[in-house]
Symmetry: C2
Subunit: 419 residues, 2 copies
């Protein structure tokens, strides 16, 4: 595409591309934007090095003109978009990229890869955080996904309200809190469970989490309190019917005077399992597989479509797949109580008037890149974490239900030309 | 764990860890090993740099002793395992790592990340290749998964028999064939569909694939043949009821004399959709989302368990989660016809006798690492691609059915001590 467009001169046409999703994953009531910050970093670093160019040349993937264009590539256009932690709905204009066709089209894969992955994880994580209802929830899924996805997933989980991650590289790269745990192998390594507990407490003190289900849980708890004393930080149960086991563990810990010792459960938890434990004496959750695989929706299904060429709206027309041409923005309308009402997607630019915003309404996209340079003082990961917390509170109450349903608020397309 | 074990001296105990899966994803009849080669590379490169160590120190994640141990880390043990492209079943000993506790335990996450991801993709890909029944099938899913997973997914798809990938970085990194395609944006960019087709043909010649469904498919095909002539390489249809459309397209192409022009279909295809198109005049498939998300099984669910400490078998005992202690190998038994019969998982080492192998049986794991050094002349990606092709042919015919079912062959655990 790039080679052809450079050859025929259309490569330089001013274009607008938009990232959006036609629908939420089956039954989901909201989406959560994740990855915007990583996208900006990827755009800044989008260059072709000599090894890459050589391979393209050797294999005759592109011609000389294209190679030299790629050698000098850097994005010089503008980007607007939904900040991370923002909710989205079908048709929300999540990212709008303005530039020449050539400079904008080659960003498609990296933009969608990042946003489809990180948003899928963030949405699943947000549902789990809702289900955990204020209890600690720790991301422990690294080993069930690609080694680099794992780092991004830990970040997306934190964005969505997870307390910490077991992924140390995510901690280092994004400065998010980390938390460790010991595995069954640590207990099995030692001559006895007692020896393992003694060793862990000698190294980390009594305010640690002992894994008590390697052999027999009630014996494990008894040994843990004997070794650590009633000041033991926490016990972790990783298998079995964790609701029942948590109740038994609580009783046993209390009877041993370890009333402050917390109970952490893990082992194939998803948002439904977490919600079902709400009435049990569980103090924290460790979540792995279901988080890093998006809990049934491993990709957000976003697409990146050309919407304008030289100011003229364009859209595919052959099928029922809805695509709307023209550059868009979105206004989220709210009731006076602050509850979200609808997502108004509107056309921008000459001939279009912005919809009237009430005092509780707000335009969702923000400027992210201008002339290839990242806008200064963009919100931080912590800001965006807070943003999501607020946004979830603003949803109509049905919107937070875990069951399958319609999007929490409708998307209204306002596309009448007013001029 | 590491800090505690270094402190109490157990870190140096000789251990064996095994990667295996307790079950296949729901209804799957076989698993496909992917990622072994990437695991070996990751083990070779497993080092801690100063930035990483600094962060661990700053945040008091580990103590001084552990930091200095990590600084000098390199794996010096042995690894045996299933080569890539091999089939596996519940309990197959996919990777066996022998070394000190410390050096083997810290590899858990990277080993499982790689194998869980790559095997999930390879298994989905193998089912799609079976369904495509010899037709070309191209991996185009990069934008629906994490940007680095995308590269690994392209590799796993090629291992499993895909013809090519649209991921150029995978082509460069692993020397696998790449294939491109033009998007609707390329057509929309131009003043007309005809102008877009003319441009593409001027750049790439008539033996290219024109995307014909931007406006109206039959007009698109007519224009494509007018512009390219009957020597047009292929047309691609990306939306609608592709079976019906492919038949209409074939008739139209034939009537225009373009009898050699191929028809490529894409757009939310999975193994079932591919199979349902078997009777249609489709020459090639482009597969995206369902491939890179493992077609419903985005992770292979492998675990990494300690099985031996200083020659003594160990296993968790608290629940029904089956774990079998002791170092194991596996023999795949076959009938005289070459059809696989069963996976015999057997204990190795002192006191155990290997099961008798018939002329068609073979021990599945191979040596991969000795004393920290990768074994020489390991099979290549091409060898392993061929391995899978052969292995699939050896399955009982029910094993290749796409419908849900039991594992294609049973796993038999042979654990009687003979001495």
């Amino acid at each position: 595409m790039l080679a052809s467009a450079l050859r025929d001169g259309t490569a330089e046409r001013r274009c607008v591309f938009e990232a959006f999703t036609r629908r939420l994953p089956d039954g989901r009531r909201y989406g959560v934007v994740g990855g915007t910050e990583r996208v900006l970093e990827a755009i800044e670093n989008f260059r072709f090095d000599e090894a890459e160019l050589e391979r393209l040349a050797e294999d005759h993937v592109v011609d000389e003109t294209t190679l030299s264009w790629l050698r000098d590539y850097r994005f010089r256009g503008d980007v607007d978009g939904y900040p991370e932690g923002e909710l989205y709905f079908p048709g929300s204009p999540l990212l709008t990229v303005r530039g020449t066709f050539a400079e904008a089209v080659i960003l498609e894969t990296v933009i969608l890869s990042i946003m489809n992955h990180d948003s899928a994880i963030a949405a699943a994580a947000a549902r789990m955080v809702s289900a955990a209802n204020g209890r600690r929830i720790i991301e422990m899924g690294s080993r069930r996904t690609h080694e680099e996805s794992a780092v991004a997933a830990a970040r997306a989980a934190y964005l969505a309200g997870f307390t910490a991650t077991s992924n140390l590289e995510a901690g280092r790269r994004y400065r998010i809190p980390t938390a460790g745990t010991s595995a069954h192998s640590f207990t099995l390594l030692h001559d006895s469970e007692r020896a393992a507990f003694e060793s862990q407490i000698a190294a980390l003190g009594a305010d640690t989490t002992l894994l008590v289900d390697t052999y027999d849980i009630s014996r494990g708890i008894a040994t843990a309190v004997e070794v650590a004393g009633p000041g033991l930080g926490a016990v972790r149960i990783d298998s079995g019917d964790v609701g029942v086991l948590a109740r038994q563990a609580r009783e046993q810990l209390d009877s041993l005077g370890a009333t402050g010792t917390r109970i952490v459960v893990s082992g194939d938890l998803d948002e439904y399992a977490i919600a079902s434990l709400r009435a049990e004496p569980v103090d924290g959750y460790g979540v792995g597989t279901s988080l890093v695989t998006g809990s049934g929706a491993p990709t957000a299904g976003m697409v990146y479509k050309l919407t304008d060429v030289e100011g003229r709206p364009v859209a595919k027309r052959s099928t029922h797949k809805e695509s709307r041409g023209g550059t868009k923005s979105a206004l989220r309308r709210h009731k006076d109580t602050g509850t979200a009402l609808e997502e108004v997607v509107f056309r921008t630019g000459r001939g279009f008037e912005d919809p009237k915003a009430g005092p509780h309404d707000r335009v969702v996209p923000i400027p992210l890149v201008r002339g290839g340079e990242r806008v200064e003082d963009l919100p931080t990961l912590e800001d965006n974490r807070e943003r999501l917390r607020h946004a979830l509170v603003s949803l109509p109450w049905e919107g937070l239900k875990l069951s399958s349903g319609e999007p929490a608020i409708p998307t209204v397309f306002q596309a009448e030309e007013t001029a």
